[in-house]
Symmetry: C2
Subunit: 715 residues, 2 copies
């Protein structure tokens, strides 16, 4: 069964309808009546013969017509009985349980109450939304099961999922009280998610013809992997915009106190959203602005944006906002565009001072605006336009809006519009929005929205590429050898960590290449290993009981003679024995010193929510302090591996800096993907650390490898 | 003369008043009549016998009463004549010249026109605001010389200065059309600043008893030094909040096209604003929110903030915003506060999960809100409160507001309030604002505003400290020796740069200490210098014709024997002769290799607008790419030098990282101040480069010194 019975019920019973304005059951019933829900709405309350001049029934059974959806607004302990009554009726398909005081309290008795209620519901074939929720809205049939007062319903293409009832309701109030009210299609707050959950609502919205874009308010995720999977599916068809709180430590703490769920690292959420194609925003305003614009306009086919203004100040503010976005470039007009603008606009207009910026000057009238918009729209170097006006007294806003609608009729590039002049331009904004042209009261809002539209378009392009690549990748990828599998199982069973040579062996099976290294069980063999190359050599202690080799004097570098190698061997064993007398030593790992290159780190761990997370970053003590790192959730493929690398602040180092060497981005991307693959296939591996990784103009070489098995200490 | 005649004229003449709604002169006259300016408003237009049923006069001379202020809305070429008529009258004190088409066009004829007009005005003793401006507003006497339509005047403590007429007007419209209209005191747009400039308006606002806070929109500064001086004076008495555009390259470009003035580095503006005590904001909304709150509330005495909410989602959003601000810490309640909250609030309330966060739960009523607010307010560990409500149906917003006003009556800590529920809480917000409690429609706005109030408070504390320190500093500071002065003059006259030993000499005069280094004119002397210490040694070529010594093979390090020193000497001279045959060589600078330490850079240059700018940052190729640097405009003192260091992302390195050495922050701050002092005293020095500077646990040592004289190449 889908959620149709929630959003399009033929009839509704409000159990616990009330004449006391302080009760939720009052407002729910009023909202359904006042908004004019298209179908019977029955009131149930044993204490009232009638309510608002309509009959009121003592129980569900007494209702003289069919009931598809019931909204239960009685105290928690009364809820199971209502489900029994509904079971007896046989026609109820869905329930919204408003009451709180169930499993969210973590009180055993109340957790059991929720379970009991759910058992009856299941038996009766009734879906449950909540408890501890406010339910759904649908502007298509004037449905509203919430007890929020004062929400105007106005239709539009955005549908909302909120993890907070209060915030979700205020989002709608904020939206509908904007100078140009934002319309929406559907809305849901699913509370404890005992049965219907966020993912099911997302899927329902994806299939809902009235929903063009999905806007979410999120505090945390309980089932992160399913979330990623569903979000990936949904964002292929429809844009999803999310306001996810917990950006700061203080915010995460507060969110954890609210949802009772783990909140997790914000950087990992960022990665997850990016991979799932969800556009993450910072504020309610940005959430609504973005959802509105995407629901109205075509997506840009590139990231080259132009700003068209007749007022300098607001134009500059828009340019600033776009200029600060790394994913936007200002459009470079064709020469004929500049010539046409010069001809069309007043002499004071500035058209070729700053790329992508046209200041039509305060002398511009409606005709100038319309012509300039049309000229810029036709330039093939422009993918989207931010159009700004602070209409002077001689410029008629309605006429400006009408001319703009004409010019944009059938246009295949997005335009966001900011008119600034208080109430004087309210009607003009409505004219534009009726023609599905999104308007904003501040230039930075119009600009930021355009940037988010570019992000959505870029996701669509990436995901097309990604699909092909995923197929390619799954065709030829190495896998673990039988010997390595046995090794991992043995260590796991013995509750022991891997030594470095063992870690290298496992990773080699997945195509991760290391430089030659010889495990030497005594000084003679170490000296022999050195003598074979005669190159400056490094030695590291081999011990499954030591995670941080240099901390215990277990690393020596730049050994240049056999004698130095023998001395070092003796010293290292003595050092380690002093620092950790119980550590079992399997000898030393002897390898020639690696050539200098760009120092990076690649690692992986398991996030409590999202599972395997792979990290890449630049190395070195100072740089590590700056945390110039990027994350992705495994598995992922080349597009995401490259995107990770591109996110690094120091990315340009890989292109060669100050005559320094370049770095092999292809090889680095492959290494990252392979580390992700190990983590995906081997749930018995908790952590992988390749630190440092030397990146050369041709190839990458991890100089150290560490694998921590699940259940072992990680520090 | 002050600007009193602009803001409080006894009478006004509108020259160019019109009955054509498309003309500025129509709207200006209408605004003055419609708002009800308190005094005679005369219309002047030779073509109209009357206007809006009032007499209209052919010329200024025909006006039968006194005229203190004239607003000139006639084409540019007509303006000088108007001033002649005013001169003949003898009573006009001030003029607002609306017309554009003067010096801003850069057309010589029109530049001359502005000059001529100004000459007449000066002769007649008339001040000029503009041209190319829209003038002033004053809510105290219902004055408005602008031609913006639809601005409601509501009184408040904020006064505005805008560098854009259109944006300035839309700021006012935005402000007055908020759900809780923001009041203001005075407003000005000064256009070309031919006479009255931004600084004079700032000073006037400082002395204006109706102005409690100054809000500015800025695009660029022409007289940066005066600006800094005036801003420093003004911010001692009144808060100044500024929205300065040009944050991005695209935005700077657009701003330069608009104002025609240099825009300069945004990082230097940031430093200048900080030093001047101006609070810089990112959006119009933040400008108005901050100005409103500061004009209403006491400042916090510390940075420990609490969030009090009955709705989880909005509370978390506020916590996120505060948590991301480096200058805020969440308050840690006293134990008795927690106990009192637990007793006062519903059982579901969360009071001790996350520092500074109280979620009163959805069951909280007006009484709970009031009691919790009162308890948190009394905690000595709390410096400010963000209070949030999404009133459920049973909570009466007006009652909540009234109780809140009672609790906050006489409170000495700031509170910002967010009520979210569309129109349902509009009246409650008005009740609060009438009691000078600022309200916001989104939690992040309430939180951000609180953060900005903390910033204002911190400036006030810094500036108290700073004054004392400045006096101390000026008492004992070294100055340039006569010999160094001669040296600088000689080089300047010869149009030559300084060699490194010369640069060291100059900087030493200012107390900047270097390690021992010997200038050796030949290989023998170099070898001798080495033999005196026998320590590993570095040698650098000495040449006033070579700015980048290592680029031409002019640097050798780690020389360990006399033979190596002699060889190196020969090699270096050969290298340099090859790379730059004409360079004059004065020998080499021989110095022992410096001990390892933390690598930093200190430098200074002259900003086209602000003059001497000093920079400090971390060194190393990768770190320099990340531009972890901070700026200040010289002169400055220890408080600012320390603040600069504290701004660096890698600041913690100076505290010792991973057992690494600490850095001497005192000595580093002194070095920075001294570099600033050199730049302030010697305008003939264009640039100073100390790169690298080794920072040790005790002391700092610049390893290289470069001084570029004014007028010489800098790269």
């Amino acid at each position: 069964m889908t959620l149709r019975s929630y959003f399009n019920p033929s009839s509704i019973a409000v159990v616990g309808a009330s004449n006391d304005p302080g009760k939720a059951g009052y407002q729910i019933y009023r909202n359904l009546l006042d908004l004019g829900f298209e179908g019977p709405v029955w009131a149930v309350n044993p204490k009232l013969p009638e309510l608002f001049d309509r009959p009121c029934y003592p129980t569900l059974r007494d209702i003289p017509g069919p009931v598809e959806l019931m909204v239960i607004s009685v105290p928690a302990f009364g809820a199971p009985e209502i489900f029994e009554q509904a079971e007896a009726r046989g026609d109820v398909r869905a329930a919204v349980v408003i009451a709180s005081g169930f499993s969210e309290t973590k009180i055993p008795e109340r957790v059991a109450l929720e379970r009991d209620m759910l058992r009856i519901a299941k038996r009766a074939g009734i879906r449950v939304m909540g408890p501890n929720c406010v339910g759904v809205m649908n502007t298509g049939n004037h449905l509203d099961t919430t007890f929020a007062a004062g929400i105007r319903q106005s239709r539009g293409g955005m549908s909302v999922i909120s993890q907070s009832g209060a915030l979700g309701a205020s989002i709608m109030m904020f939206a509908t009280h904007q100078p140009a009210p934002m319309g929406f299609a559907k809305w849901a707050h699913v509370g404890n998610q005992s049965d219907v959950d966020v993912l099911e609502v997302m899927r329902f919205y994806r299939d809902d013809p009235d929903t063009r874009v999905i806007a979410m308010y999120m505090e945390g995720i309980n089932n992160a992997k399913d979330f990623l999977k569903v979000a990936r599916e949904v964002t292929r068809d429809k844009p999803v915009i999310a306001l996810k709180v917990g950006r700061s430590e203080a915010g995460s703490g507060a969110a954890a106190s609210h949802t009772g769920s783990l909140v997790g690292s914000d950087a990992v959420y960022d990665a997850a959203f990016r991979q799932a194609g969800i556009i993450r925003v910072d504020t309610v305003e940005e959430l609504l602005d973005t959802a509105k614009a995407i629901s109205m306009q075509p997506l840009p086919t590139g990231n080259r944006i132009a700003v068209l203004t007749e007022a300098g100040g607001p134009g500059i503010i828009a340019m600033d906002e776009l200029g600060l976005a790394k994913d936007i470039v200002m459009a470079r007009f064709e020469e004929r565009t500049i010539a046409a603008l010069k001809e069309a606009l007043p002499p004071m207009a500035i058209v070729d001072h700053t790329p992508g910026y046209v200041d039509m000057s305060a002398a511009a009238d409606e005709e100038h605006h319309a012509r300039a918009l049309s000229i810029v729209l036709e330039d093939p170097n422009v993918d989207g336009i931010v159009h700004i006006s602070v209409p002077p007294t001689f410029l008629r806003p309605d006429e400006l809006a009408r001319r703009t609608v004409d010019v944009l009729d059938g246009a295949r590039k997005p335009v966001t519009i900011c008119y600034m002049a208080g109430k004087w331009i309210t009607n003009a904004r409505r004219l534009l929005e009726d023609a599905r042209i999104p308007t904003f009261d501040m230039p930075e809002r119009a600009a930021r929205t355009m940037r988010n539209m570019v992000r959505r378009a870029q996701h669509m392009q990436r995901s097309k590429l990604g699909t092909q690549e995923k197929q390619d990748a799954s065709r030829h990828s190495p896998s673990l050898s039988a010997a390595s599998d046995v090794l991992l199982r043995e260590r796991r069973d013995a509750d022991e960590n891997l030594t470095e040579p063992e870690a290298r062996k496992i990773l080699s099976d997945y195509g991760i290449a290391f430089e030659r290294a010889v495990a030497a069980a005594d000084a003679d063999r170490a000296a022999h290993a050195f003598s074979e190359t005669q190159e400056p050599t490094a030695m590291k202690i081999i011990s499954r009981d030591i995670l941080h080799k240099s901390d215990v004097g277990g690393v020596r570098v730049n050994l240049r003679t056999e004698a130095e190698v023998r001395d070092a061997y003796r010293d290292m064993l003595a050092n380690v024995a002093r620092a950790n007398p119980d550590a079992r030593i399997d000898g030393v790992l002897v390898s020639p010193m690696a050539k200098p290159g760009i120092e990076m780190i690649v690692g992986a761990s398991r996030d409590a929510q999202f599972g395997p997370v792979v990290m890449v970053g630049f190395g070195g003590v100072l740089v590590e302090l700056l945390r110039d790192v990027a994350f992705r959730i495994a598995p992922f493929y080349e597009d995401e591996a490259r995107a990770m690398i591109d996110e690094l602040q120091l990315r340009s180092v890989l292109d060669g800096v100050r005559g320094g060497p370049k770095g092999d981005v292809d090889a680095l991307a492959k290494l990252i993907i392979r580390v992700g693959r190990v983590m995906t296939e081997r749930s018995d591996i908790a952590e992988i650390d390749l630190n440092p990784v030397r990146v050369y103009a041709g190839g990458v070489v991890p100089l150290d490898a560490r694998i921590v098995l699940a259940g072992k200490e990680t520090a």
